[in-house]
């Protein structure tokens, strides 16, 4: 049944041990010896698996050393490969030569957990800036998070391009608009960008460490603030990972309401972003029209659920607000307006030649590249990858394929237009799904007792937020407390896609391309 684990068994034989503590049971976890970590990656790569995440955990509270994990995905299958490493001088063979997205995951593992990926091509720290003492590792258990960190001297080594007429443009961290901070460095010849290097980490707030000081039930509030624009997606993902460990049976109705929130979040963000993309192509009209529709949706959220972004409405065990008949009618009436005006805007977008000129063939992320970088979400779907957790890792009502018939739009051109168009179709689809949910939602309770996880168990979830697949991996410590909470926002991988899409574009098109990806800084930096 499981292709990936079978491939591993046949290649590595008795070196592969299956792991019992991983939940839910549909997500397989196996342990391989540390020196075989990269070999396992090679085997899975040959079997077409994509890398979904890579992280490490400090397992000294259990009397062990560290563990490094890589999560692979192939179709509906998720497989976690783990290696135990000693407490002293932990190291493992890097999988970056095999999987490009591991490049940043492993820099992060080295910077924050102090585990060395052997053979990694880039020794520079990530997230932990050069003015941090390089020998502190905040994610280690022995590290006291309350202690302030002294500043030391240091300089970040940027990639350099040399040659006649090449000049460099540094941008950020504080940008011109109302956006999050990050630093971009372009090398350009004339107008043409030859290389872009991103440097992120400015909004690193120590979220993963913070999780470890919270109770399981309080931590969902933090998950809802990993990135404010995806508060619903993250709180569902966190809750589902926890529920998988505790065996909590979430009431059917609660699942459906979560789906309702998730689709409303998708619509609101897509509307705002499509408008903002048009604005960056000097078509402000669309921004005003679409931000008006977004505001309508936010106001409905406020009047029905008590919060414009539906923060803290999803909790472990269910949801905190229900929808009654009048609420459903309000939503349906609102959707009619949004849908009508949105379709008018789509026609205007489609017929506007000067807009077309800007968005076509701009910010091109080739399908091969998108796959190589293991991108997710609308970025992946605009570059030919058919990925959507609502289909591949569904919760109700998405698991009722024959009824809900979820359509996943995929484009292959990989340019700004493709990313816009995928999102246009997703808005339509979300509107349809919400109507379906409101019509067919089962009755019943909306919360259940979330329960408590057993010591030394791990939980996993993957949820399709509006940016794409959000992954949580939780580990309960020896007393059943939070030992580790790994967060993988879609941005962690998709930022690499932007870096690859920019060369050969002109400098003034950068804001447009960046907006068409619109990845989260906060979700990446954590």
């Amino acid at each position: 049944m499981s292709t990936l684990i079978d491939a591993l068994y046949s290649a590595l034989g008795t070196d592969v041990r299956s792991d019992g503590g991983q939940c839910p049971s549909t997500v397989l976890c196996c342990t391989v010896p540390g020196e075989k970590f990269a070999e396992a990656a090679g085997v899975l790569k040959k079997n077409y698996a994509l890398l979904a995440a890579e992280w490490a955990a400090d397992e000294t509270p259990f009397g062990r050393g560290f563990s490094v994990f890589a999560c692979y995905r192939w179709g509906k299958e998720y497989l976690i490969v783990r290696s135990e490493l000693p407490a002293d001088n932990p190291q493992f063979p890097s999988i970056t030569p095999c999987y490009v997205p591991a490049y940043r995951f492993e820099r992060q593992i080295r910077s924050l957990m102090g585990i060395t990926p052997l053979g990694h091509p880039d020794p520079r720290p990530w997230i932990k800036f050069e003015d941090w003492p390089q020998d502190i590792f905040p994610l280690r258990k022995t590290y006291d998070a309350a202690k302030p960190v002294p500043r030391v001297q240091g300089e970040y080594q940027w990639a350099r391009a040399e040659g006649e007429g090449i000049y460099e443009i540094p941008v950020g961290p504080v940008h011109a608009g109302i956006i999050e901070p990050g630093h971009f460095r372009f090398q350009a010849v004339g107008e043409m960008v030859v290389n872009l290097e991103e440097r992120l980490g400015y909004v690193h707030k120590g979220i993963e460490k913070r999780f470890e000081s919270l109770s399981w039930n309080d931590a969902v509030r933090l998950a809802g603030r990993v990135t404010g624009d995806t508060t619903v997606g993250h709180s569902i993902a966190y809750s589902m990972a926890l529920e998988s460990m505790t065996g909590c049976k979430v009431p059917e109705r609660a699942h459906w309401i979560r789906a309702l929130f998730l689709e409303r979040e998708r619509i609101a963000n897509h509307l705002g972003d499509i408008g903002a993309i048009c604005n960056d192509a000097a078509f402000a009209f669309a921004l005003y029209q679409l931000s008006r529709l977004k505001e309508l949706a936010l106001r409905t959220n406020y009047s029905l659920f008590g919060h414009r972004f539906m923060m803290d409405k999803v909790v472990p065990g269910g949801v905190t607000v229900d929808v009654d008949i009048t609420g459903a009618d309000t939503i349906l009436a609102e959707l009619d307006i949004i849908s009508r005006d949105f379709e008018r805007m789509v026609v205007i977008y489609d017929e506007n030649a000067s807009l077309e000129d800007r968005v076509r063939d701009t910010g091109w992320l080739k399908p091969e590249r998108a796959r190589e970088l293991c991108t997710v979400g609308f970025v992946a779907r605009a570059s030919g990858l058919n990925l959507d957790c609502r289909i591949f890792n569904p919760f109700p009502p998405y698991d009722q394929y024959h009824n809900i018939e979820l359509a996943v739009p995929v484009k292959v051109t990989g340019d700004v237009h493709a990313r816009v168009w995928v999102r246009v179709e997703e808005v339509r689809e979300s509107i349809r799904i919400i109507r379906y949910i409101l019509e067919h939602m089962p009755r019943g309770p909306i919360t259940a007792d979330p329960g408590k996880p057993l010591p030394d168990t791990a939980g996993f979830s993957a949820v399709e937020g509006w940016r794409g697949e959000i992954i949580y991996w939780l580990q309960a410590g020896p007393r059943g407390e939070v030992n580790r909470c790994m967060v993988r926002d879609p941005s962690s991988v998709n930022w690499l896609g932007l870096e690859q899409a920019i060369p050969n574009n002109i400098v003034p098109d950068f804001p447009l391309c960046n907006k068409s990806f619109n990845q989260s800084y906060s979700g990446h930096d954590l």
Binding site: F129, W132, I136, P138, Y143, A145, A146, K147, P148, V149, P173, V174, A176, G177, I178, I179, E180, P181, G201, Y202, V203, H204, K205, G206, I207, K209, R210, R221, L222, R225, V226, T227, G228, D229, T231, G272, F285, Y288, Q289, S291, R292, K294, E295, L298, Y302, R308, F309, M311, D341, R344, M345, V347, I348, E351, S520, Y521, S522, D525
Partner: protein, 175 residues
């Protein structure tokens, strides 16, 4: 083109009187604001927004005060790209360790007299992120703050009220 014009006429002006509860206050502050902005800011208040480490939730609401419903430009409020033109810094946070220097630089690049408004629970006191190795806590841990706007995130109306409160302050009041 004709479709664009059509849509414009169909939509009309959607800018709303602010929701009732806030309306009285806005009326009161609004009248005063006009006077203050006319006298102290020559009819236009220029704001530089700085994200010093927020989760982006506060930014969504700051964007919203520019949308056609709130249309903050009608109050004479403009957002600028450069701190050198700014009368007021609208800062979200917690201030991360990695943004501390950039925030100080932005503050120093802003000409005096300048106002600083801390936005959101995080900007006020670090919020859920608190103080840690990576987060220094509220904005006033790093630069002086004139007005605090709590909320997670504060709704657009609350933001507007907070900005009004900031420009309404007596300039002789100490920090």
């Amino acid at each position: 083109m004709i479709r664009i014009l059509h849509q414009i006429f169909r939509t009309g002006i959607v800018t709303e009187p602010l929701p009732r509860a806030a309306e009285e206050e806005i009326k009161r502050v609004g009248a005063k604001l006009e006077e203050v902005i006319r006298k102290r800011f020559r009819r236009s208040l220029t704001i530089r927004e700085v994200d010093a480490g927020s989760c982006n939730g506060c930014e969504l609401e700051i964007h919203a005060i520019n949308n056609p419903y709130y249309n903050c430009e009608r109050f004479g409020i403009h957002f600028t790209a450069s701190p050198r033109f700014a009368d007021l810094l609208l800062v979200t946070g917690p201030v991360t360790r990695n943004m501390e220097i950039a925030l100080r630089r932005t503050y120093n690049a802003t000409p005096t007299p300048k106002l600083v408004v801390a936005v959101g629970d995080c900007g006020c006191n670090g919020g859920i992120f608190g103080e840690s190795y990576a987060s220094l806590g509220g904005i006033d841990k790093v630069i002086p703050v004139d007005v605090y706007i709590p909320g997670c995130p504060p709704a657009p109306v609350v933001l507007l009220n907070g900005i009004l409160a900031a420009v309404d302050r007596d300039p002789r009041e100490g920090k």
